[in-house]
């Protein structure tokens, strides 16, 4: 059940492989193509450049680093994304408080419905 409206894979950026694998499985089971999971900013960049993902699900904390640089990059490129984090929006730096966020722990329904809504919104904005 591939979502034909999405012209590209969904990139997963998540350093915890248990969660990354779970997200990947959830998205694939929902019919999305996925790449990743990518566990670092640098890895994520190269995947973005290589595969031009249509959407990104990304964890904020990647080991010792944080993924806001990727958010900036995606914003600049007009790529939709959703942040996944144990933090609430209020705990984020003020520049990223408005960013779409799914809080951990993830549930399948929570993640998929959010991703769907965001992809829809994003494409409507594009059109």
């Amino acid at each position: 059940m591939t979502d034909s409206t999405l012209n590209g894979p969904i990139l997963i950026v998540e350093d915890e492989w248990l969660i990354g694998d779970m997200v990947q499985t959830m998205l694939q089971e929902a019919g999305y193509d996925t790449i990743g999971p990518s566990a670092s900013v640098a890895d994520a960049r190269s995947l973005i450049d290589e595969f031009s993902p249509a959407f990104v699900v990304l964890d904020i904390n990647l080991g010792a680093e944080q993924s806001f640089a990727i958010v900036d990059l995606l914003t600049a490129r007009g790529v939709g994304y959703v942040l996944v984090s144990g933090y609430g929006s209020a705990d984020l730096p003020s520049a990223y408080r408005h960013c779409p966020l799914v809080e951990k722990p993830l549930t399948s329904d929570g993640l998929i419905s959010t991703v769907r809504r965001l992809i829809g919104n994003h494409q409507r904005v594009d059109c």
Partner: protein, 815 residues
């Protein structure tokens, strides 16, 4: 001279006309020399112009040479003083008058004599010495009772010690002597005299008086003295013709005593140039201890029916005439005298003289009958003379001489003369009556004056009493002042003590300020700095010299623009405020509390600002907030991992019964790792501990461990926990721990935080290489690979599974 008298009387109120002219002129002469004036008229002119000269002349007139204890006083002490006190009890008062006392030496001499005698008595009567003089300045000297040593030459050493107190070079009369003496201005000539006096001491005053003045003064003294009183005169003074009033007690030392009954205690009228003389009969008006009626009767009987009689002294001087003696006596030519024999009419003299002598010698009564004498008309009269000693006449022998006419057969010629005579005596009697009436009125006036005088005297005494009581009051006041002074001393001492207490309290306060290290500033109601603690200097640019300046003048390290609004608010409302303020320095936080300063009555008189540095507190609060957020994050991550494990476990399981033990085992492993971490406060956990915990249920005797202890960071510890769990589960299911004799050989090394770990199973059942990689193998691979930056190698050897891992023991990041 009269003019000078007038001037003196007009200005000074004293009439010196009675003074000896020679003395007076000598004094005037002296003043003229002093003023270098030749002419008497010029001097009078000067006196008119210059009141000071009148005063100077007055003072010169009163030159007195006085001294303590002239020789004659001792005689007074022996002869008179004991008699003064005779028969006097404690309620009586001995009264002494010292007229012309000048500067008081004589007064005090007599007072000392009296005091000496009083000390020998058991019942001591009161003694008053009235000392008078017309010279106020002399009286002031006398009142002060202070004399230079030079004047005390004749005072014996004993008396000097006893009655004088040395005070700054001069000598002061002791109080017990001084209190006996009352000084007052008084003129013997002008003012009414004192009365009921026991002793008059008037020494060297009469010598200044002329005869007329003396004639006035001596009767005055006689009047003042009570019967038996003493008169004490100066050695060069005499009673002149008044010796009938006084009996000499010690002639050489001029001590006299009043003659009893003889002289008239009648006050002489003070008129210059006139000596008063009153008929003796009037003397009977003096109060006597008989009723007036009886007196009147006796007087009349004496006058009308008693034979004419006279009283004479042993010397033959007549001291008393009865009525109707004129017939027998005649004033002789020449100087008036009262010699009995000189006054006798012719014809009586011989008989009188012989009878007198006989009576004197025998001391008995002598009667001469049939004495003839011729009266004025040369008519012969027979009479009887009787001489007898007068009884009860005291010290002096007096003689009563009576004249009794006999027969008195009158001839024709006598019959003719008698009416004429009666007419004459009627005239005389009328005249006498008139005179008596005048005298009566005069006496009444005098008595009035005397009463006034007495009351004045009493007033004087009472004034004296008042002065004494005033003095006592002043003494009391002085004592009060003393007490007050003492109290003040006490209060001062207390004040000093309080001051010391205040000092130490102040020092304590200062030390407290220094120690508290809390910035505190005390402001008054105008926000002027009153006091501050040393810590305040770190926040405000304030120096000790800034006390008295408004706080608004000072810069501070606080970012607190509302400070002054808050201070005013506190002043007006009286309610304190508290604010947390950020400082200028980074990460500095202050708690600023502004509290009203209340004085002891609770009114609001200023503001206290206290500033506490809460930077540390603020930092720890921030840290705490971070920690809570972090904890939140970790819990969520953990749950995410749990969910992910559940997710993966569910996908690998075929049934729920197959899922649950696997999932439970993984959760248990996870829990054990967390337990270890929490025991170690999330720091480092030993690799051997992780392994042992997992393998304990299977018996550690089957496990051989070889390797130095390696400490793992939390991340690595958790990953190792999961990996060892998966390996143990696998071994228990398929490998060395699935039979009875299988063993495990674990070995690890640590080289520069890179750990090499080998899991080798020995003696287990034959194993086969699985067709597909299960989740357990995937977990081992990925945990080592992704989470531990390591590598994993799994060998399915026939004799048992061998797993080799290499990883970083310190990954160093958060979970």
């Amino acid at each position: 001279m009269k003019e000078i008298y007038e001037l003196l009387r007009a200005q000074m109120g004293h009439d010196f006309s009675g003074y000896k002219t020679k003395t007076f002129l000598r004094r005037v002469q002296r003043r003229k020399q002093v003023n270098q004036i030749e002419n008497r008229e010029d001097y009078v002119a000067l006196l008119r112009q210059d009141p000071k000269e009148v005063a100077a002349l007055f003072r010169d007139m009163l030159i007195n040479v006085t001294n303590f204890f002239r020789d004659t006083e001792e005689s007074l002490a022996v002869n008179a003083v004991p008699k003064l006190f005779e028969g006097r009890g404690a309620d009586d008062i001995v009264r002494v008058w010292v007229p012309g006392c000048a500067t008081g030496e004589e007064v005090y001499s007599i007072a000392i004599l009296l005091r000496e005698h009083m000390d020998t008595l058991r019942n001591v009567p009161g003694v008053q010495l009235f000392a008078t003089d017309i010279d106020d300045s002399a009286l002031n000297v006398a009142r002060a009772a202070r004399y230079p040593l030079a004047l005390l030459d004749s005072v014996s050493e004993e008396r000097r010690k006893r009655f004088f107190v040395e005070d700054g070079g001069s000598y002061v009369i002791t109080k017990n002597v001084r209190e006996m003496c009352i000084f007052s201005p008084h003129s013997v000539l002008r003012d009414p005299p004192f009365s009921r006096i026991d002793l008059v001491s008037c020494r060297n005053l009469l010598i200044y008086f002329g005869i007329e003045a003396q004639k006035q003064v001596i009767p005055t003294f006689r009047y003042a003295l009570r019967p038996g009183g003493f008169l004490f005169l100066g050695t060069s003074e005499s009673l002149s013709q008044f010796d009938d009033m006084f009996v000499p007690l010690d002639k050489r030392n001029r001590i006299f005593r009043t003659r009893e009954g003889g002289a008239t205690p009648i006050l002489p009228i003070a008129l210059p140039g006139h000596q008063s003389h009153f008929p003796q009969a009037e003397s009977r008006r003096r109060p006597l201890p008989i009723t007036p009626l009886r007196l009147a009767v006796e007087t009349q009987v004496l006058d009308r029916h008693a034979p004419p009689h006279v009283v004479a002294t042993a010397e033959g001087d007549i001291v008393y005439f009865s009525a109707r003696t004129g017939k027998y006596f005649e004033a002789p030519a020449g100087v008036p005298n009262r010699q009995l024999l000189a006054m006798e009419r012719k014809g009586l003299r011989l008989d009188l003289r012989s009878a007198f002598r006989e009576s004197m010698q025998t001391g008995r009564s002598v009667t001469c009958d049939g004495v003839e004498f011729e009266d004025e008309e040369d008519r012969v009269q027979l009479l009887t003379l009787k001489f007898e000693t007068l009884l009860g006449s005291g010290d002096e022998r007096l003689f009563l001489i009576t004249f009794e006419d006999h027969g008195a057969t009158l001839s024709a010629e006598e019959a003719q003369t008698r009416p004429r005579r009666r007419e004459t005596s009627g005239e005389v009697e009328r005249e006498l009556r008139d005179t008596r009436e005048r005298l009566q009125s005069t006496i009444e006036e005098y008595e009035t004056a005397l009463e006034e005088l007495k009351s004045t005297n009493e007033e004087l005494i009472s004034v004296n009493e008042e002065m004494q009581s005033t003095n006592e009051e002043m003494e009391a006041s002085k004592e009060e002042m003393q007490a007050l002074n003492d109290e003040l001393h006490t209060v001062n001492t207390e004040l000093n003590l309080k001051l010391e207490a205040l000092d130490s309290a102040n020092a304590d306060l200062k030390n407290l300020f220094d120690v508290t290290d809390m910035a505190t500033i005390f402001l008054d109601s105008s926000l002027i700095i009153r006091r501050f603690t040393p810590a305040a200097t770190r926040l405000f640019k304030v120096l000790p010299s800034d006390c008295g300046r408004p706080l608004t003048d000072l810069a501070s390290d606080l970012m607190y623009p509302e400070l002054f609004d808050d201070l005013r608010q506190v002043l007006t409302s009286g309610e304190s405020t508290e604010r947390q303020i950020v400082g200028v320095k980074p990460d500095s936080h202050y708690l600023v509390r502004t509290v009203p300063y209340r004085d002891r009555r609770g009114s609001n008189t200023g503001v206290v600002v206290s500033i506490v540095d809460v930077s540390v507190l603020a930092a720890s609060e921030a840290h705490q907030r971070t920690l809570i957020a972090e904890l939140n994050h970790r819990v969520k991550n953990m749950l995410a991992v749990v969910l992910a494990i559940a997710f993966h476990t569910r996908r690998a399981a075929l049934t729920l019964d197959e899922f649950y033990p696997v999932f439970e085992g993984r959760m248990a492993a996870l829990t054990r790792s967390y337990e270890l971490l929490s025991v170690q406060h999330w720091k480092k956990v030993l690799l051997s501990e992780i392994v042992k915990r997992e393998l304990v249920p299977f018996g550690l005797e089957r496990v051989a461990m070889d390797g130095d202890d390696v400490a793992l960071c939390p991340r690595a510890a958790l990953s190792m926990g999961m990996i060892v769990h998966e390996l143990t589960t696998n071994a228990a299911k398929f490998g060395a721990l699935s039979n009875e004799h299988g063993r495990l050989a674990l070995r690890w090394t640590n080289v520069h935080e890179r750990v090499s770990f080998e899991w080798r199973e020995i003696g287990g059942p034959q194993i086969e290489i699985p067709a597909t990689e299960g989740f357990g193998m995937k977990l081992i691979h990925l945990e080592a690979d992704r989470n531990m930056r390591g590598e994993s190698k799994i060998e399915f050897r026939p004799d048992g599974l061998v797993v080799r891992l290499t990883f970083d023991c310190l990954i160093g990041d958060t979970l």
